[in-house]
Amino acid sequence: MPSLGADMDSGTLLEWFVKPGDEVKRGDIVALVDTSKAEIEVEIFEDGVIDELIVAPGTRVPVGAVLATVGTAGAPPAPAAATPPAPAAATPTAPAPPAPPAPPTAAPPAIAVDGHRVRVSPLARRVAQQLGVDLAAVTGTGFEGAITRADIEHAVAVASPPAPPVPAAPEVAHRQEAMRQAIAVLMARSKREIPHYYLELQIDMSRPLEWLREENLRRPVTKRLLPAALLLSAVAHAVVEMPEMNGFWVDDAFHPGGRVHLGVATSLRSGGLIAPALHDADRMSLEELMAGTQDLVQRARAGRLRSSEMSDPTITVTNLGDRGVDLVHGVIYPPQVALVGFGAVRERPWAVNGLLGVRPVVTATLAADHRASDGHAGGRFLAIIERKLNTPEEL
């Protein structure tokens, strides 16, 4: 069946003008076909003898079907030229279908009130999922009463969260929102529940910094140590001697942390704060501590922390010296019991043995949970930190 028009898929053979044995030549009209738009005469493109009429009048066949065979005298019959190859299956190779998308993470269950689906904006639904908020408990105030992001945030603020909310694999774009929310919840809880006491101690940094200078002279540029590493290490080592500062206050009792996982308070460029753990910081060399901190900060800022790093810290250190702050009275990260803060190392007048000199000085502060320790222990703890800093070779 020849193609007799752009929109023709099949045709009905109406009439044959030839019969087997008839001689035909190129251009002869051999049949009449109804294309459903019109009746069209079919011409032949070969010279030869009609061998067999395959399609009977009245039959509808697709374009490409063999209508008749034509032979040349003495030669085996060939399909008539009016019969094209099977309808073009020769479409160009299509690109492989994309891999099926990963199944979406489970959404909060659909909630129905009075048989109606509760309206939740897509953003609110996502934020609720990140913060583990039960949508059934949220009242919507948005477009046509829909629950909005603000409604979710409000719900979080009034509720007391069961555990430190760990933004589980938050999406980058909205990490900061979930983060802010987590901080809000956590800090409010800390100030509400933890009876903080605060101590501060100015520490002469001449000796540790001098040691650091000499140490760095022996190191290649890429391995040089920063003062921050000394501060972290001093705390990690001090806490080994003061286990009552290292651990958690849960269910009205102190639970020692056992190992020393130093929470390193890290500010994010997009705003927000996070304090992931440097595991077993007391067993790290200064060099490992440097590398570990750097890695942690980078991953924290890229949103690639492991959940254990979020939940494991046993005590937190915050260093706001880089920001030019002199001293920091921190808020304890519940359920931890202590937080050590450092301000900037600054040159200050310093009296030693009745003589006034200029020394690099840092202010170390301690915010501690009065339920777990008291000021006396806290004072000792700061003193140990000072001692550790003054024996840098042991760090």
Binding site: S121, R125, G140, G142, F143, E144, T148, A173
Partner: protein, 335 residues
């Protein structure tokens, strides 16, 4: 020496004229043709004075034969010229739609990339002047449907002044829509600004609570609405699309990702409008950023009536934008 910016007070109309004058002066391939662009000075006075300056070969009055002279612009562009064709209004461009759609938009493609069509076609668009149903169309959305065209909508003095040069430099057919209500707009023009891009939308007013997306003649309405919203403590961002094809998705989506709410404002009729297209793209690309459904403020679906009160009721107004925003914030009864 002062390092200050040199500015001049100028109207939108004068800014367009300066741009055409600059193009004619700097490139001998450029010429202007259209109905009454010469002696009359242009139906909207844009080309006044140019005939005396550049002569009848380059400022060509045409018969009322939109198809012939728009097609001639396309042909001349294919032969290396840089024609600026003025179609008096978008309504009359319907008489040249075959040339715009079947020739300008297709020839580069149909020829397998052999022929460029660097023609610029300017036209007045929009309502608001009580000229009734046949002279008040806003058909940008229709034309933006057509692959192969680029569409620009200068809504500011600066864009009126600086969009023409990049449009003429573009190897593709570029349609420029000048909203009739903007010709008398007066403002300061930065003399040293230089050509603008014709790829990106512009944030005309930054804000954090809701994104108002518009173009051309409705930009002033969107700005006015944003000012009123500010009084209500709502910080609206206003995006001027500037380029209606190809659309700058990135600017729109990034804004919605910040504000989580969007209203599109479009003088076209709502059904099948640019507003609908933008709404769909936001849904496709920023669904999980949305804290409310995208709203549209478009013209009423009626041939434009003549009486002023009905015409104004049909057009997107600041009050309507305001109420849509309040409604999506759960603060208004809406309508």
């Amino acid at each position: 020496m002062t390092a200050g910016v040199q500015t001049t007070a100028i109207t939108y109309r004068e800014a367009l004229r300066e741009a055409i004058r600059e193009a004619l002066s700097s490139d001998p391939r450029v010429f202007l043709m259209g109905e009454d662009v010469g002696l009359y000075g242009g139906s909207f006075g844009v080309s006044r004075g140019l005939l005396a300056e550049f002569g009848p070969e380059r400022i060509r009055d045409t018969p009322l034969s939109e198809s012939a002279f728009v097609g001639a612009g396309i042909g001349a562009a294919m032969a290396g010229m840089r024609p600026i064709v003025e179609v008096m209004t978008v309504n009359f461009c319907l008489l040249a739609l075959d040339q715009i759609m079947n020739n300008a938009a297709t020839i580069t493609h149909m020829s397998g990339g052999q022929f460029a069509v660097p023609v610029v076609i300017r036209m007045t668009t929009g309502a608001g002047r009580q000229v009734a149903a046949q002279h008040s169309h806003s058909l940008e959305g229709w034309l933006a449907h057509i692959p192969g065209l680029k569409l620009l909508a200068p809504a500011t003095i600066a864009d009126a002044r600086w969009m023409l040069a990049p449009a003429l430099a573009d190897p593709n057919p570029v349609l420029i829509f000048e909203h009739g209500s903007l010709y008398n707009l007066k403002g300061e023009l930065d003399r040293d600004h230089g050509p603008v891009d014709i790829d990106r939308a512009a944030i005309r007013r930054p804000g954090s609570d809701v994104t108002l997306i518009t173009y051309g003649g409705t930009l002033p309405a969107a700005i006015a609405a944003a000012d009123q919203l500010a009084d209500a403590g709502i910080d609206a961002e206003v995006i001027d699309l500037r380029v209606l094809r190809p659309l700058d998705d990135e600017t729109v989506i990034q804004s919605v990702a910040r504000t989580h709410r969007a209203v599109t404002i479009d003088e076209g009729w709502r059904s099948g409008s640019l507003a609908a297209e933008i709404s769909a793209r936001i849904m496709e690309q920023a669904f999980y950023e949305l804290d409310a459904p995208v709203a549209r403020v478009c013209s009423a679906e009626v041939p434009m009536p003549y009486p002023q009160h009905l015409e104004q009721a049909a057009l997107p107004q600041p009050a309507k934008i305001l109420s849509e925003v309040l409604r999506m914030l759960g603060k208004g009864s809406g309508g």
